[in-house]
């Protein structure tokens, strides 16, 4: 203590100045009050950004449902159970009086069968590819294939639509629709290649990358010690994959399907281009021709009916479709989140 007392006030000050110049963190101490205020401001700004981001979806939901209410008021449950979408739209567009009757069943059914078909095809092709990428692929092949899948995910939907239109639709026309067939069905519906089949094919390749990415992650997340234990028991590699790895990875694979279906349900542009020019409900009693009939989905209906949005009732009907889509996509998002969380817990719990 005596040593300090012997220093004069001015020499202590001089020391402090030197210290502040040399050690910048200490320099902060003296300006700390200013920094702390700035810090608080920044924190509030960041919080604001986060709140905005988090509540955007609420704004969307609110608006869309609000605009859609008149339709549900006028139609009730019949909106989703009654058919005649195209006719309703043309009537509403042509008439001077507002026409409120709309039956959205064709587009709802269209969405289901297109998405369902695409999911089945996606699962078949995708699970094979995922197992390949996670387990079977030699390193030299794995990286390029993964890069190609990533590329597939980035291709815009309009490109899928264009190629679908220029290649797939004519192919379907050539291979499956003979002149007699077209004539036979001409009274029911024109068959011109724009069809459920084209829609399913195009949709499959659009959603494959999303499924594969999630499924591969799920397969890779399976702890290696299970594979080792199985191999040490004399079980061969493929049986190990089928009996041990896949069962453990199943919730993650399911999450992949849910993610892919969310993407499929929302696809509008490509389906508008390849799946058909009318909201027709394919008839299963037509046998295989079922797949050759045109369809329209909820999302592609929004795009297709854009020109008629001038009529107030049509616009409201499209919002009603939009709110149904919103409901489906929100449910799918929540399901995906829950499934993925369960999968993570399962894998984490095991690694202990």
């Amino acid at each position: 203590m005596k040593a300090f007392d012997s220093k004069t006030a001015s020499s202590v000050e001089q020391e402090n100045i030197v210290l502040k110049q040399v050690y910048s963190p200490l320099r902060i101490e003296s300006a700390s009050r200013r920094y702390r205020l700035w810090d608080k401001i920044v924190e509030k700004l960041l919080l604001l950004a986060a709140i905005i981001s988090g509540s955007l979806v609420l704004v969307v939901i609110f608006f869309v449902i609000k605009e859609a209410i008149p339709i549900f008021v006028h139609n009730g449950v019949r909106f989703v159970t009654a058919g005649g979408w195209d006719q309703d739209i043309s009537k509403a567009w042509a008439s001077v009086e507002p026409m409120w009757r709309f039956g959205a069943l064709p587009v709802i059914v269209g969405t289901f069968i297109a998405t369902g078909g695409a999911l089945i095809l996606t699962f078949i092709l995708g699970i094979g590819c995922s197992i390949f990428l996670a387990e079977l692929a030699p390193d030299a092949i794995r990286s390029p294939v993964e890069a190609i899948i990533r590329l597939l995910a980035g291709i815009p939907s309009v490109v899928f639509g264009l190629i679908g239109l220029m290649i797939v639709v004519p192919l379907i026309m050539d291979w499956f629709i003979s002149d007699e067939l077209a004539l036979k069905y001409i009274k029911i519906v024109p068959l011109d290649g724009q069809s459920l089949l084209a829609g399913i094919l195009v949709l499959t390749f659009m959603i494959l990358p999303f499924f594969i990415t999630v499924a591969v992650d799920a397969l890779r997340a399976v702890p290696k010690t299970y594979k080792e234990a199985s191999l040490a028991l004399g079980v061969n590699g493929w049986r190990t994959i089928v009996k041990v790895v896949i069962p453990v990875a199943t919730p993650g694979i399911v999450a992949g399907i849910v993610l892919a279906s969310g993407r499929a349900v929302g696809e509008a542009i490509a389906l508008s281009m390849v799946a058909g020019a009318m909201a027709f409900m394919p008839d299963p009693s037509h046998g295989a021709v079922f797949f050759l009939e045109p369809i329209r989905t909820m999302a592609s209906a929004i795009v297709d009916n854009k020109e008629t949005m001038g009529a107030e009732t049509v616009e409201t009907a499209l919002f009603a479709i939009g709110s149904l889509l919103l409901l489906v996509s929100v449910l799918l998002s929540l399901t995906a989140r829950i499934t993925f969380n369960r999968f993570q817990k399962r894998v984490m719990g095991m690694v202990e």
Binding site: Y226, E228, L231, A232, L233, G234, V235, N236
Partner: protein, 285 residues
């Protein structure tokens, strides 16, 4: 629960077990019959360019418990995995030399890997029961080797394996419970039962008790002593006390080389090599 465990531990005999009459006798008997079960001759192994096992000649005798000891990373586990060809999975792994099981070269072209791995079973360091029921865990290997097996026969095999692994009485009431719901020691015994179910002849254990508490460890050691009457047991261990307690012979590895091997009792008291002595005395580890 705790009192019984403390009593159990207290009743364990002190000192190297092979000094006990029975084990010494058995060691002598095995040495007499001298049936070699697994043997390696001039075994060398590489991970890519790096050599990890240098010229190891080591016979393992039938129905003995042999302990592989040595500091971390000296190749004991790698050597173990050569014997059931688990290293085949690793792409950069290369091997030279002979490994024979009952005189048959296990790397021969016509060897069926599945049968080999069933005959030479493996238990891992961290218990890894499948995320299935206890019954399915044990039945898994059996079902895969015999797709047409009947449920009744399967049930018998499961029960017998669980009895052999001293786990039957603890789980018999609920075989459908998940394998993961058991305690660590029970899970490890479940893994042993799982290996036993496919009727092995050799059981290899890679530091099986390293993640277990002393009571579970003692139980498993007791189990191994019982099992060696029917099976040949190779155990890799870091725990010199464990090696002394249960093994008939020890093999000391250092930096990929086999430094010394011999009957446990002799090696513990009078090791021949300086490195062995240093390791056993704890001068490095």
């Amino acid at each position: 629960m705790e009192n019984k465990d403390m009593q159990f531990l207290r009743n364990q005999s002190y000192g190297p077990a092979p000094l006990s009459e029975e084990n010494g006798e058995r060691a002598k008997m095995a040495a007499k019959t001298n049936t070699v079960k697994i043997e390696t001759r001039n075994l060398n192994a590489w991970y890519g360019p790096k050599q990890v096992i240098f010229s190891v000649d080591l016979p393992v005798i039938e129905n003995e418990i042999i302990a592989f000891i040595g500091p971390s990373g000296c190749g004991k586990s790698t050597y173990l995995r050569c014997m059931n060809r688990m290293n085949d999975i690793i792409k950069s792994f290369r091997i030279e030399g002979d490994i024979t099981l009952d005189g048959y070269d296990i790397y021969a072209r016509d060897v069926d890997l599945a049968t080999l791995r069933r005959k030479v079973g493996m238990v891992f360091q961290h218990p890894n029961p499948f995320p299935m029921s206890i019954f399915d865990n044990i039945a898994f290997g059996v079902r895969e080797s015999n797709r047409r097996i009947k449920k009744a026969e399967l049930g018998e095999i499961v029960e017998e394996s669980l009895r052999q692994a001293s786990l039957w009485n603890e789980v018999k009431d609920n075989l459908n419970a998940s394998g993961l719901s058991l305690s660590g020691g029970q899970q490890q015994r479940l893994c042993i039962a799982r290996a036993l179910a496919v009727k092995p002849e050799v059981i290899m254990l890679d530091e099986p008790c390293s993640s277990l508490d002393p009571v579970s460890t003692a139980r498993i050691e007791e189990l191994l002593l019982q099992l060696c009457e029917e099976y040949t047991i190779i155990i890799v261990t870091h725990n010199l006390g464990q090696a002394r307690r249960i093994s008939h012979r020890m093999a000391f590895f250092l930096n990929g080389r086999l430094i010394e091997e011999g009957p446990t009792a002799e090696m513990s008291i009078r090791p021949r090599c300086r490195e062995t002595e240093n390791y056993l005395c704890g001068r490095f580890g």
